[in-house]
Point group: C2
Chain length 415, copies 2
């Protein structure tokens, strides 16, 4: 078994090769990876069965077993994902803002690969392929560290991808999987300064916080979403009901799902009973402020301060009646995680104020928070959704996986 | 004395106010700060004298005493700096890449303030004003932590600035100085997650590494520069001599000064004796590879591996003869700090190869590395030079002190 540090060193040694590779060569390798994954589907399913059996023995629930399972559909899915990434425009090499200084230097900003991208994720083995393909197209070597429940699947997928890359005449060390799935192994990766240029944790709030607190390499925080729907006094009630239902219930386990409802006092009596009725169709549990409880009655659990800060990721919602748009904004800026926030309103000034003052990656007027997604935003694919302000904020596509450098053409200039 | 955490909390409470302030109000406050600094020059000089006397008692050398000193010229300089920042375009609020999705959502990327910017720096008290002015114009509250040698000066400058801001009807907590200058105090700042959005260390390599290793808040690494001049076989020897002399000797203590010379084998015998002669005018000490020593003789100290990795910041240089441009690139990518690198050449393909393959914030063809500077790059002012790949790379102006958010205008869209 390679140590984590050895794996990081191999990736760093391969970054120059992938970083200077042309678009056509990168795309050809991505298509070769896609073909190899489909050609080796029996081998993948066999490795996957090992993980599933181990998971059942260790008492994983069926939801987790499902996330772990690689059937033919999912194998075809990840292969098609590679083909889609091959079809995306190459972000690397674009030069922008080229200008000539008074002294005659030509200075431009060139988009360049990150170098080595580390990604730490949890159970789903398809992330191994998705993440590898995106890093590859973005011109970076990658060091992936999946969950130990998916270890055999990840190892098999990675071996197939490395072989495919090698068959294209490239170094297999452009793509790497950490074989040591202990916490200590993850910590080595988080502190591989000089080897890993950026580390992206994908998964639970706990994983992300562990990475933020342990890492000494640059990190992009992703994915925790305590998202709010604020129904302003002037809201169209039917629109607000549709947006609330969609944001809360269309898929409860995702980071852009709504977790909290804020309602202006003037519309609360008219809106809340209908909202309750609508969410009752999905058996949503309510945690309400005193006014909410007064309007909706005994079935509402009184909301605690902790409720307002909770990302339920389930059929559960917190609800608060507020006095104004500014009240709603203050509540959101206190409790949110900087992900996605929505106002439903007819009022132009309230819409503008909400867009200006809410501190989040994506701020919506009259649309569901569920749209915060690389695909929906037109990026083609995403590696995650950044909830920090440094480097990238919101859905991260290929462009967000790159850096830049200044290139300067001179004719002997000195200062 | 306020604790560091209290100071960070005050800054966080003030970020909404400065973040939504209009350009004219920000500029008016910056001009008021400039006037107040000049009106209070005697008070500043008095506080500064306390620091200078303490510094002399503690045995600070005259170079450090000079950096610490605030005479009338420097006070006028920082005041004028505020006026220049007021005159720069406001980076906040620009919306780019606005597009309409197939579903009719209008999605745009809006430039927004960071929130709270933390800056940890060393002896020079003028940084207190420069950094505060840049953060203010960029729409962020700031938490500054200067060196303890400049404590009285910093406190006095900050008090004058806070009073000026308050006199404009704004919260003085937009501008903050950490009063606790212990290491523990700095550590609190480095781990003020949720309060500080980005932390920028400015100063020695040791300070920056301490921040990188201790901080759990997002950090931008700045300023360490082991910069190379590579003289290719086809170089114009006179141009190479001018660039070498300028990059090495024009100001030795700065991060964009050259620290290492690489010379192609075919030009080494012709170039090196002239280079030695030129740098002898500045009494530069040479550390050379065996070939360099063979050409230049006994006065050259044999270079160690450590020399190639050293940022001398002094009249000292390491030198190595290489076989090719690719050799030079490999050497640079091994030893550099990702700051500024230069090739001197007549060869088109070598120039392009160097620009493509050297991994640094600024890569030059035929120009001195000394140009890596916010002013020279046309940014008007800079907060530092980023040597990391995340968020900003190279000189950081006002734009690099901002983040973005997506704003989405809908008409009831759901997924």
């Amino acid at each position: 078994m390679n140590t984590v540090l050895e794996t990081c060193r191999r990736a760093a040694a391969a970054k120059q090769e992938i970083g200077t590779l042309g678009t056509q060569q990168k795309n050809a390798a991505l298509l070769a990876i896609a073909d190899a994954l489909q050609a080796n589907r029996e081998r993948i399913k066999q490795a996957n069965r090992q993980d599933i059996e181990a998971g059942r023995k260790n008492g994983l629930n069926e939801g987790l077993i499902d996330r772990l399972t690689l059937g033919d559909d999912r194998i075809d899915g990840v292969a098609d994902g590679c083909r889609q990434v091959a079809a995306l425009p190459d972000p690397v090499g674009e030069v922008t803002e080229m200008k000539v200084t008074p002294g005659g230097l030509k200075i431009g900003k060139k988009r360049v690969p990150m170098g080595v991208i580390g990604i730490i994720y949890e159970s789903r083995p398809n992330v191994t392929v998705d993440a590898a393909a995106l890093c590859f197209k973005a011109g970076s070597a990658c060091v992936l560290r999946g969950g130990k429940e998916a270890f055999h699947s990840n190892l098999c997928l990675m071996q197939i991808m490395r072989d495919a890359v090698a068959a294209c005449g490239l170094s297999p060390d452009i793509l790497n999987l950490v074989e040591d799935t202990t916490h200590e192994g993850a910590n080595v990766m988080m502190q591989a300064n000089g080897l890993i240029d950026v580390l992206i944790p994908r998964g639970s709030a706990r994983l992300i916080q562990a990475v933020v607190h342990t890492a000494t390499v640059p990190v992009i925080e992703t994915g925790v979403g305590n998202c709010h729907i604020y129904v302003d006094a002037s809201a169209d009630i039917d629109m607000a009901l549709d947006i609330l239902e969609n944001a809360k219930c269309q898929r409860v386990s995702v980071c852009n799902a709504a977790e909290s409802l804020l309602v202006h006092r003037d519309i609360a009596a008219a809106f809340l009973p209908k909202a309750k009725e609508r969410l009752d169709q999905h058996s949503v549990i309510w945690h309400g402020c005193p006014e909410t409880c007064a309007i909706l009655g005994d079935s509402i659990i009184p909301a605690t301060d902790e409720d307002y800060g909770t990302e339920y990721l389930d059929y559960e919602i917190s609800c608060k009646v507020v006095d104004s748009t500014d009240d709603a904004i203050a509540h959101i800026n206190r409790y949110n995680t900087g992900h996605s926030e929505c106002i439903v309103t007819h009022d132009y000034f309230h819409a503008q104020r909400f867009l200006d003052a809410v501190d989040a990656a994506a701020v919506y007027v009259n649309a569901s928070t569920r749209f915060t997604d690389g695909g929906e935003f037109g990026f083609g694919a995403e590696i995650g959704i950044s909830t920090q302000k440094l480097h990238a904020r919101g859905p991260m596509g290929l462009k967000e996986l790159t850096s830049n450098k200044y290139i300067i053409y001179g004719e002997g200039q000195i200062r």
